[in-house]
Assembly symmetry: C2
Homo-oligomer: 642 residues x 2
């Protein structure tokens, strides 16, 4: 499982991270920043190696001179790895947090440790060191009196929020990228993705996304197979979907439970499962009144959480509810328009009324897209305004807002057709239209467009001098994180799990879509974007919850669809009441069973639980044998700080 | 909050724990055991002080000579406290795990630490030291060749499983007990229970039980008040229960969420919230084939978990289902009997048929009790046979089995009456009968009987010589843990939350019951039982889950009751279908809201979260400053062990 594939990044002085300052940054600011970055750690610096990018060949007038290349010595990187609590494979096969003193007992540590860390890890370490470079006695950034500083404030964050530092990104490694892209998507293959290599190059967060994408595709295979059989053998009359709905029900619960275990397995082998989270720095945009942080005891801006909660509950929540109402209102208008057009067509069908039949659907689709885009901006603005201290909290609030709206916007019409109009034929048509349309748009945006873009801007993996390469990458667009990719998967999962029983081919389309998605996403990551910093994720985070919620809703819809089916109705010829009672009872039973199952199946596979317990046991034995341990030291430090 | 009340246990050499060996234990066994208990720790002993109990005055023939009093020096107890990771209040007001080196920075540590630990803590430490006294190279207990030992096996556990060691219990402290019982129940008072003192004397597990009992009683007050108003103003026609059901709904969700925070608060101040669990010893009854434990690496009996799971799923589960079926079958017979008797009475009502009307109910109640007792034995036998390695896992499986059966046995008839027969008048009668009957039995068993028993066996708090006191306590019965007490509360919670909307007085009865329960339980603990070993619980464990499950069921039943009410029906005069759809929709909304609420409300109050985060932050800062830390040491030890 471990990354014996892919070469390690060697020689500690080639550039790792690019820091781009605004072209009009003052001289004194630049020299102060460079000094602070280069200073020794005991003097409060970051002890990094920083060089200005010198253009070889002709220098164009408009070029930004303030581009800096950052790297560090191997010793510095290793001690940074220890600070971050990086987990690596130990000589006994377990995963342990790296320490310099014990470095030679780690499996892949040879000689002076050159090559022990991957390039992505080095870049992550440098990012961390830069972000935790703190102001000492400066009251403001030299040259910018309005850019206030106070002891302990992250310098980089202040520079970012004042737009002096424009961007900071890790460099691509042409050679490894070539190797990775060949393994990943350059040949059509039946084997799985090289997840370890992806993680090695892009970090755990992205590797987990691709892992999930692949897992999801695999999990869809049985559904797609059944869907194909349905088509093949002409089982397509809508009466026969009970079996499919029942299968759906179980399927969506089981695959999510299994994914948790899969993800824990991956995260354990990548060393992120039991790794402790580093204390997060406040977001660049976070503002407040200077006070003492109750956790760190440091002076920093504080923003009362009651104030934030007031903003969330009194402004954001009503706004979201209003948007949801608006979305439902638009849907009702669509249904009215459709009814009106249908009436017109029925009265006197001509060629023009035939065309008119499509108009409401098209308008509705366009309005949905427009609403989605508008809402996304509003959600970002609102969440920014809520002034969250941590990036993670900002992300959670944003995801929740966007998810709820997207869910309603995409599925409300399907729910309406299925359960209020109870028109399964229309449901099927609508589902097919929505799914296929969205896939065509996606394929175009994610496969055709990138391919065309890349053609235009030359081959990225071409050999060129460093300075040119750096400037090229500086101009590439930023990868905005896995948010949109997960959102797309979430909606696809919704189409399949909620309603695919009435349209079994849905799973087939989603599988096809996912396969091209893997290739196009891989292509995008390797060719179109700046390399993203790796992100030591242990799981897919809030998305697991979102998918679980969807699977609960899927149980409800599938049970209702089963209850509505003619076969089941045939068992209760005289009493609608009894049919409903039975449906509700079965649904409650299934929901209870689902929660019981989630409670019963351990989230971490047994063999990994044992390994984790073993580590804990050993540390407790160590505690017993050496009494003078962690805690007295902790005390002493606590005193030093008070 | 902290235990400044109640005196500390002083002077380290008064007896703490009593160890009773079988009267016919061989001489060589006794002397070997005493030697191992007294041996120094570096020689693998427990380093405790052990004395045989010498009777003062006349020695009766039948008296057991093998009673030993165990205690330890203060230094030994303090180092034991460090081994156990006991949390105490530090000089800066935070809770930290105790270490000898840093002892003087703990708030209540004075001089040489005499009086720092409470007697209950000392007893817990001694219990732990005795249980982790391990065999070295002995192959069997001297004198008993059939009592096999192997290196690392807990000696005490083997002696227990071979019935050589009959019992081991902590001694009461007459003086403190007198003070506690006076504060607790000897005066009728309006103030709350002295939870800190209870925790100080009996440990965290029991204190949490009494805390929960008190909290539950308080939480019932509003319900009881509304119930009284209902009675007073003759709102008692069954139509008006909608408001009550809606209130019930919210009430049961909110109080459980709040209790979690209360319990976390208590546990934080008692130092059990962030305390790490000590590795549990296998249960005395656990057996298996000698192998290497994958966690500890020690040789010990192993029992494959697949085999255990086969036993659970192929034997226990079907057995439980069979019992449930039997219970339902008995219920159906009861309803048939009742119907038959009613018919008889309606045909020709005489005095005799009038009496006959009560007979089915009485028979059913008796059969329920008999079934409960039989099932309890069966569940214990089955869970023992499942051969769980840890006591905690044994307890969880036992609780789950007993809970499910008790729930069905007690509530099935109510569910049947409410939702199948839809007879709210009968439901009300049945609920009242069940509740009042069970309370009368409980009050008798828990208040009258104990009082009478105590009268008989003299005053427990009388002054008497040590030896007599020890023998008296040896003969007292053992407290069987909080299981039955929690089970009773669980069933009461069920009566109130599920159906009290149709019988609002239920809450009043439960409040009255709980108040006497507090007094009778307190009396029991102080006068009737051996002192139990304290149990460092951080929460009420699996019972929290059980109560949450009950509150989910309560949402379902209350929504259904509301849907069945005449007022609500009046809104849907023509369509039963619509009424049902609305009921189901509202119920799903409420369930979703409940889960969302549980997700939103943090389980630990903010100010405690901050304190915990602060501790973690400090330990990470310490890590940063002193690099040569825990992990290299851990490594070294790991090597020593391999």
């Amino acid at each position: 499982m471990m990354e014996n594939s892919g070469t390690r990044y060697r020689s500690g002085i080639s550039p790792l991270v690019v820091v781009v300052l605004s072209p009009d940054t003052k001289e004194e600011t630049v020299s102060w920043l460079l000094r602070r970055m280069r200073e020794k750690q005991q003097d409060g610096g970051a002890e990094l190696l920083v060089n200005q990018l010198r253009s070889e060949g002709v220098v164009e007038e408009k070029e930004n001179p303030n581009i800096f290349l950052v790297t560090a010595s191997w010793q510095r990187l290793l001690s940074g790895a220890e600070d971050l609590g990086l987990f690596r494979e130990f000589s006994d096969g377990s995963m342990r947090s790296f320490t310099c003193i014990n470095s030679h007992n780690f499996k892949e540590f040879h000689g002076d440790g050159d090559g022990f860390l991957s390039m992505a890890e080095c870049q992550y370490i440098i990012k961390h060191e830069l972000e935790t470079l703190r102001a000492k006695d400066e009251t403001h950034v030299p040259g910018y009196t309005q850019a206030k500083l106070y002891p302990g404030k992250s310098i980089i964050r202040r520079l970012q929020s004042k737009r002096i530092l424009i961007r900071m990104f890790p460099l691509h490694d042409q050679e490894e990228l070539k190797r990775l892209s060949f393994k990943w998507y350059k040949k059509v293959k039946t084997s799985l993705q090289p997840l370890d290599d992806i993680r090695h190059y892009f970090g755990e967060g992205l590797a987990l996304y691709f892992g999930f994408l692949e897992y999801f595709t695999m999990a869809l295979m049985p559904l797609a197979l059944i869907g194909l059989l349905y088509c093949q053998f002409d089982w397509e009359n809508y009466d026969k979907y009970v079996f499919f709905a029942a299968f759906n029900l179980i399927w969506c619960t089981v695959i999510l439970e299994l994914w948790k275990r899969c993800s824990a397995s991956l995260a354990y082998h990548w060393g992120t499962l039991s790794r402790k989270k580093v204390f997060e720095e406040p977001r660049p945009g976070f503002h407040g009144i200077l006070g003492f942080n109750p956790v760190t005891g440091r002076e920093e801006p504080l923003y009362p959480s009651t104030k934030r909660q007031l903003r969330v509950y009194l402004v954001s929540l009503p706004f979201v509810l209003l948007c949801l109402y608006l979305s439902l209102y638009v849907m009702m208008i669509y249904f009215q328009m459709e009814g009106w057009v249908l009436m017109l067509h029925d009265r006197g069908p001509t060629f023009w009324t035939n065309i008119l039949l499509f108009i409401p659907g098209v308008i509705y689709a366009v309005v949905i897209e427009v609403l989605n885009v508008l809402y996304r901006y509003a959600a970002e603005f609102l969440t920014e305004w809520e002034n969250h201290r941590l990036e993670s909290s900002y992300q959670n609030h944003l995801v929740l807002k966007v998810l709820v709206f997207n869910f309603l916007n995409c599925f409300a019409s399907l729910f309406y057709i299925a359960f209020i109009m109870q028109d399964l034929v229309l449901l099927r048509q609508n589902l097919a239209t929505l799914l296929i349309t969205s896939q065509i748009i996606n394929q175009f945006m994610e496969a055709v467009l990138p391919y065309w873009l890349q053609r235009r801007c030359n081959k990225m993996t071409m050999e060129r001098p460093l300075s040119e390469q750096v400037r090229l990458e500086t101009d590439m667009s930023c990868y905005q994180g896995t948010f949109d990719d997960y959102l797309e998967l979430f909606l696809l999962f919704g189409y399949v799990s909620l309603f695919s029983s009435v349209y079994p081919l849905a799973a087939v389309f989603v599988v096809l879509n996912n396969i091209t998605e893997i290739y196009s996403d891989a292509f995008k990551m390797c060719n179109l974007f700046k390399r993203p910093f790796s992100d030591p994720a242990a799981n897919i985070g809030i998305w697991q919850l979102a998918f679980e919620a969807m699977s609960v809703i899927a149980i409800v819809t599938n049970c209702t669809l089963i209850g509505m089916s003619p076969q089941v109705r045939a068992y209760f010829p005289n009493s609608e009441m009894h049919l409903m009672l039975w449906t509700v009872a079965v649904e409650h039973g299934l929901l209870a069973f689902k929660f019981f199952l989630a409670f019963l199946v351990p989230d971490v596979p047994k063999h990994i639980q044992i390994k984790l317990a073993r580590l804990e046991f050993e540390s407790m034995e160590a505690l017993k044998k050496k009494k003078m341990f962690a805690v007295p030291r902790l005390r002493r430090v606590a005193y030093e700080e008070e």
